[in-house]
């Protein structure tokens, strides 16, 4: 099997997995989901690193460098934001609170 066909297999299966997993994310977390997939999309850093470091020619190196900067800032900023957001989602503990009040 040619490598392109194999890549196509990977694509289809990954898209399928993604669809199955992500369609179960509740609307409550849709904003963190967008931020998370954006941070993960920073994976284009992988391609950028190769372009920046292969020393093929000056143009490719500079384009790669800019791509590394863009992708890195996306990953660093993205994961920090997701964490900040998810930290805010807290559950209510009314029973625990009430007990506290009555104890006083």
């Amino acid at each position: 099997m040619s490598s392109e066909l194999l890549e196509l297999y990977v694509f289809v299966l990954a898209a399928f997995t993604g669809y199955m997993v992500i369609s179960r994310v509740p609307p409550l977390l849709h904003t963190p989901l967008m931020a998370a997939t954006n941070a993960i999309a920073g994976i284009s850093l992988v391609g950028s690193l190769i372009a920046a470091g292969a020393a093929a020619n000056r143009v490719a190196t500079i384009l790669g460098f800019v791509a590394v900067v863009a992708a890195t800032s996306n990953i660093v900023g993205g994961f920090i934001i997701v964490d900040r957001m998810l930290k805010m989602f807290k559950r209510d503990v009314p029973s625990a609170k009430k007990e506290e009040v009555t104890a006083k």
Partner: protein, 463 residues
Amino acid sequence: MTRDVFIQASYLAASISFILGLRMLTRPDKARRGMQLAAVGMLFAVVGTLLNHTIVDYRWIVGGLVLGTVIGYPMGTRVPMTAMPQRIALSLTLSALAATLVGVAEYYTRMNAGTPPDRVTMTALGFEIMLGCITVGGTIVAAGKLQEWLPSKPLTYKGQNFFNGLVFLAILVLLVSVISDPMKQWAFYSMIGISLLFGIMLVLPIGGADMPVVVALLNSYSGLASCATGFAIGNVILIISGSLDGSSGFILSILMSKAMNRSFTNVLFGAFGSEVTAGTGKTSEGLAVRSIGVEDAAIQLAYAQLVIVIPGYGMAVAQAQHMVRELAELIEKRGGEVKFAVHPVAGRMPGHMNVLLAEANVPYDKLYDMDEINSEFDRADVALVIGANDVVNPAARTDKSSPIYGMPILNADRAKSVIVLKRGMSAGFAGIENELFYDKRTSMLFGDAKASLSGLVTEIKNV
């Protein structure tokens, strides 16, 4: 050889951690750990890549990583939650930009070395550039509109769809010609410019309230662009992550359009807010609204058993989410119950209201989706509408001539009484009159949402 095995193992570990991380995002209590796992996976992928034997010079890489971290850190820590829609749009710009630049570098390098890409690779490169540039152009405009550097009203002109269609046709012609003959460098480079232009033209006519759909759609484009990068440079981790990103954007845009009862094409080419002058809708003439003072509204809320709060973009604009939480706590302390009804398209991005309310410390088990809460309005004593309009407009159910007819709405009109916090009697984003405001059971509390809410809090304390 062992090096290659190590690289592939790091990619496999990264892929698994991404999928598990997203899987844990289905549960609010596990989501945070899931994302930390994904971040570790990202680190694996980067370290693995650095071992790649084609990398011979690390100076630019180190410089880029350092500079990117310096830029990214404040973008993560400093951006306020209220600015999240434009921040998300901007991060789409960045990831699409990276994908596009990698594509251009790859093409340039191959042409420069005299080994033009074959047709399969060229197809991947072509799609990568096209989708990447459309996303970059589109998200920059979207971010500008959301930040209000650009007017958030739809910018329309006569023959707009025709012109955009022509531009898109031009992109397709260039794409086909560069795939059939990869030596056509002019076609490749002009496709970059025209795709950027198309992205900009595509989003300019789209108004603020339609942004959730557009941002989600551009999200799936940027994912597909990463995917295409993976095909072009033969890298599996890019294909996997790109398709995860792509399917997330795809699912969200479908959910958003469903929640507005509109098709993609209608959102993209309908320029909603501009055409409603023609759309009839009932006019307000002869009808009177009942205005209410803070004191009376406070009494209604203070003695209510069940209050359902319906937040909208107006709450975000007035930064009123903290005041809402305070009000809710006060009502609960008096023995009432408070629930929050969140419409899927409330705000400017999917889940916008949830994040703002979570930031204000509203526990997430009090936030309900439309389907969960709609049956409960019958037993609600007060539906408190804060800066929401179209999502509670009964015309969506009854008035076939209304532009929002068929859109699923929150059943605020079924509550025993309705209090609407609103700045003035201006129509909602869609420019349609809202019958709910003229209903016998509805009282309007005019003024800035934050000021009204803090008035309510003070009054309820005195009741």
